[in-house]
């Protein structure tokens, strides 16, 4: 049982890293971006290809995946996303679905539709078991590694958001764009930076998750709903909301698939609908929040 909890936490942390960029950009620009998974897929493919073609070590691939996706995110923000910030949501949905379809077909065309495999280094392959009986806790080293990396990133993000100058600018822009701009904050740069970092984090998540979630061209469509659940349930006003939502989702999904495999994703989706009917603005949003 503890093992399931542990796996659920690892899964949840991974989802959080994948979706946190989406949460922040959505809160910042009120932009419904269904193409977020495409950036994660790019990160995953960067890792896989670098490791297979040039034998780059896994640990070095992770920052490269981050940089690659962040760069792509920055370029796309500048060129394609910016004109759409003030368009109606229908346009944004159509645009980002289109982008997702293109990403899926492109990955299929250049890399092939087969599932990609990441060769983990030896020291990440083992598994440690503590205790025994019903309370046995089996920890895969790789999952432990994921939790550690994601926890470090979360703390880092929280620090940047609450303690640094950029963080306060970002929060000001999220709260009210116009007033923030009036105070001399260059909102456009904040948008660009945030979008790039958010995409980069998604890319990093995709690289880390290639082993756990699987990586093939349909990745952006398959996990789109999960990212959106994290954002919709967690709310977009803080990063603790999405973190808790991601953990909840991860644990519910792993436990559901383990105990009642017949129901599959049913539990997660029903839970999401119930929560959203109960609290349409998200679980962890204070009343009257945007």
């Amino acid at each position: 049982m503890l093992t399931i909890l542990f796996d659920g936490v690892a899964y949840g942390m991974l989802l959080f890293i994948l979706a946190v960029g989406l949460a922040v950009t959505m809160g910042l620009m009120n932009f419904i971006n269904l193409a977020h998974g495409a950036f994660a897929m790019v990160g995953g493919y960067i890792t896989v290809l670098l490791m297979q073609k040039w034998g780059v070590p896994f640990l070095l691939c992770l920052p490269l995946a981050f940089l690659g996706s962040a760069l792509l995110g920055g370029v796309l923000e500048r060129t394609l996303y910016r004109p759409l910030y003030h368009k109606p949501h229908l346009d944004q949905v159509l645009f980002s679905i289109g982008l997702t379809f293109m990403a899926v077909a492109t990955a299929d065309y250049f890399i092939g539709s087969s599932q990609q495999i990441v060769q983990l280094p030896e020291w990440l392959k083992g598994r440690t078991e503590l205790g025994d009986g019903a309370w046995m806790l089996g920890m895969g080293h790789y999952r432990l590694f994921i939790i550690a990396v994601c926890a470090a990133l979360t703390l880092g993000l929280q620090y940047v958001l609450t303690k640094t100058r950029f963080g306060s600018r970002l929060r000001a822009s999220v709260d009210d764009q116009r007033v923030a701009a009036g105070l001399g904050i260059n909102v456009n740069w904040v948008f660009l930076g945030t979008f790039a970092v958010g995409s980069g984090l998604a890319g990093l998540g995709g690289a880390l998750g290639a082993e756990v979630l699987g990586l093939d061209p349909s990745f952006p469509l398959k996990f789109m709903i999960y990212f959106l659940i994290v954002v919709a349930v967690g709310g977009t006003s803080s990063i603790t909301g999405p973190l808790l939502a991601a953990l909840l989702l991860g644990i519910a999904d792993v436990a559901g698939k383990y105990y009642i495999p017949k129901l599959g994703g049913f539990i997660v989706y029903s839970l999401m609908i119930a929560i959203l009917i109960w609290r349409p603005q998200g679980l962890f949003v204070r009343k009257g929040g945007k």
Partner: protein, 330 residues
Amino acid sequence: MQTTDALSQTLLLARGRWKWWELVLWALALASPLLLSSHALIINEIAIVALFALSLDLILGYTGIVSLGHAAFFGMGAYSAALFAKLVMPDPLVGLLVGIGTATVLGALCSATILRGTDLTRLMVTLGVGLILMELANKLDWLTGGADGLQGVVMGPLLGQFEFDLYGRTAAWYSLTVLLLVFVLARRFVSSPFGATLKAIRDNRLRAMAIGVSVNSRLAVVYTVAAALAGAAGALLAQTTGFASLDVFEFHRSADVMLILVIGGVGWMYGGVAGAIVFKLMQDAISSITPQYWTFWIGLFLVVLVLVGRERLIRPWTWFGKGKPGAHHE
């Protein structure tokens, strides 16, 4: 008071009046299976997709609800019509009514989920309902055949005398007739005072509430009606192909129908029909060149469409004017 009432009545009626070119258009449509008899299959598909897009137009174009899970009702109609034909009786018209009925019930249940929250919440909830139904159809394999789809659906003759033939001519006429009937009814529906209040809700929900429109009940009704029509489209598909598979619930179906509607223009009765014709012909042409990468082109099309502006793309005469996008409702 009397005169303003009379005036608004004539205005509403004038909007809903049939023009001569519409009659010509429908006459041509009904004649098409005979004129283009080798293309009856694709005419059937177009009619079904047009009906599906029409139902989405009621909630997206006329009421402003962005839904990514409209395939839920389509699939519900398809599976119930197919199951009814297989297990109870093969009569197509009764099956169609059953398909509409189950989709209506589902729509009425789901309408409670779209009343509150932001666009994002609605998007998620509609998407979630679609996924749940797909999951159900997948897991209840003793009933639905699971991932293999529901096979062995044999339809009886239409009205007891017209058999469904291999060339799909009966099917095309059947679908076109249903489409025409639904179109007439839907047109009456949106040009009624009720339809006018829907547009008021779309344009400004708060103001609509302030003048005394009961927003929630209107949304629930229109969502249920749209679900019923989507169910009809699904039932037609299952009956004319004799098959229902998980594909009817897929995400891409919801996305496609949204694209179809957007191509034809939202909030316009012929939007769905025009979009369906363009989309199906485009799909036919492109997938004969690159069957596998058709989604790339559709994605590119969507991106360009949005960047250029939906309003401008279907109105070519605005391309060379001052590039000021039209005012948009929020």
